[in-house]
Subunit: 341 residues, 2 copies
Amino acid sequence: MKKQHITIHDIARELNISASTVSRALHNHPRISQSTRDAVQQLATSYNYQPNVMASSLRKGQSRTVGVIVPRINRNFFANVIGGMEEVLAASDYHLMICQTHEQLENEISAIKTLVNARVDAIILSISLETTDKEHIQTLIDKGIHLFFFDRIFEGINAGSVVIDDRLGAYMNVKHLLEQGYRNIMHVAGADHITIFRARKEGYIDAMAEAGIDVPPGWIMERSLIQEGGESAFLKGLELSTKPDAYFCAGDFAALGVMQAARKRGLTIPDDLGISGFANEPFTAFLNPSLTTVDQRGGEMGKIVAEMFLQCAERSSEQADCEKIVLKPELIVRNSSILNK
Amino acid sequence: MKKQHITIHDIARELNISASTVSRALHNHPRISQSTRDAVQQLATSYNYQPNVMASSLRKGQSRTVGVIVPRINRNFFANVIGGMEEVLAASDYHLMICQTHEQLENEISAIKTLVNARVDAIILSISLETTDKEHIQTLIDKGIHLFFFDRIFEGINAGSVVIDDRLGAYMNVKHLLEQGYRNIMHVAGADHITIFRARKEGYIDAMAEAGIDVPPGWIMERSLIQEGGESAFLKGLELSTKPDAYFCAGDFAALGVMQAARKRGLTIPDDLGISGFANEPFTAFLNPSLTTVDQRGGEMGKIVAEMFLQCAERSSEQADCEKIVLKPELIVRNSSILNK
DNA sequence: TAAAACTGTACAATCGATTGCGCAAAGTTT
DNA sequence: AAACTTTGCGCAATCGATTGTACAGTTTTA
């Protein structure tokens, strides 16, 4: 078996120069003569020399690795974001280290510990549903680790972030329902302490207010945004004094739940009941009727956070900035909300 | 700002002992007295000491990191696999470093270089469509890096692997179509040099043969397994002398393409044309009619590869083994293939 | 009681790359 | 020609943890 990895010392020995000269030559240090540089670089290439990342990381105190923490890797949106980040970061020779929290605070804390431990250069985070307290996140900033949020940010922590304008997305969504003629529009909301869900609720309220409708408390139903949540919200709607004629759900799976429950009760969509969701999960295009929803632009979001980090990393010391980027969401109108007037 | 990270030297200084003693104390080395151990461990805990992974990796020549290379992170199946791996590996304090190839050999090569460079302890790989040559993979084995495949393996390389029995999955799928009464069953196949796609084709041929049907060459249509591929295959089917009454597609997206093309032509599914796919993409449950398909058990696959690696890592030196695990696929019968006889 | 074995710890090298400093040789400036 | 500058490179320390070896003191064995 051949030597596993060659080092600058191997090259140095072969050329009868010192390892430090080799290192400098490889980095095109101006104090090294052109001839030495050429000789070193040529030999390095011919041996297919690859610097040991761990050694240089240790010395330089930075790992060229970015940690990512998401609730679940296998959720379409998060997978898209991660895919986008990987594309951008790989191009700049950064690695990605990925952890999932399964929406549990405990896992989030240990993921942060793990990543800090691995001395990642930055952590990109989308908080779990359980995260209501910022202590564990604050420690990152104290340690001088770059921190960025996407989608699910933690308010009150000064960090760069990329989100879509959830409020606007919800507003456009509900406005569309109103334009179709729906009036008694219920809202299946997510956990209120999560910024994005609160924003979606507010967008809903705004659109309704603009149409002169003052939303009664009972119309807003906070649920877990899964099918069961939608079902439960639909059943709750049956008990209301005002009959719902549409549902705007803060998540697509909840919308699916509403749709299935409604159909089970013999309602026709969109005629008897309009439905819209949020997230543009791939399945929504294939539902029957297809589901109106809002696209969150996951891939772009990932690319943008990654670029934000790269910029920060370049002008290193200047930690301050903390840009906050808000992307425009895209309303996708499909059949579940189109009334044939 | 407080000190960023504390080291064994800090602890050593505080207790007036040497760093090596601290290191041994933390590892419960028998030669260190109980009292010293206690003192060290207590101080370490109180300072929330975290060992510098890079330093110990450098020294020990292993990184406690596993590299994963997949065609695309944001494909449901791969995201599930990665999710499963993360769960298992995180529990054993291993990290995951992820690269995507976008189905391009060039990216696969550079991903391998990157990961080798980062001195990962193992690489878990699902090859790209372009990978027909094994040179870049073989180097891994030569360098003594553990290598595992999942789903898309490279035949002819001796490495651990986890796959589902694609042949059986296809066989069950087609057998089901035959039992429903379909006879002229076309097959939309994937690239033939990829093992899994060839296996699916063979399963198809086997099932047909068992029913006494000798598949004519024209019935097997090799396509890119995306919607357009399905559409194109459907159109091709119109030109055949024998009229197709069903399509078994090696991928769900191709099946979707067939379904949409067929519907555009006024065919009713499953009455005029039966359709089945492969992969159990989430959207298949929501198509109308819902799509019969085969589940690939991504999450389990990820967990199993991860465990396979952990076992290898424990009994370190014994590299040999190279277990090859084959999971039973699950046929999911839905409406797209159920004839009301 | 001398020799052997064990205990508890420190020293120093090591992993591989990086970098401040020093120094000699060559080149420039007054 | 004396006094700087620049050029080209090596030495040695450093990042933090690990580990082989040495060594003094204590205990056991023959």
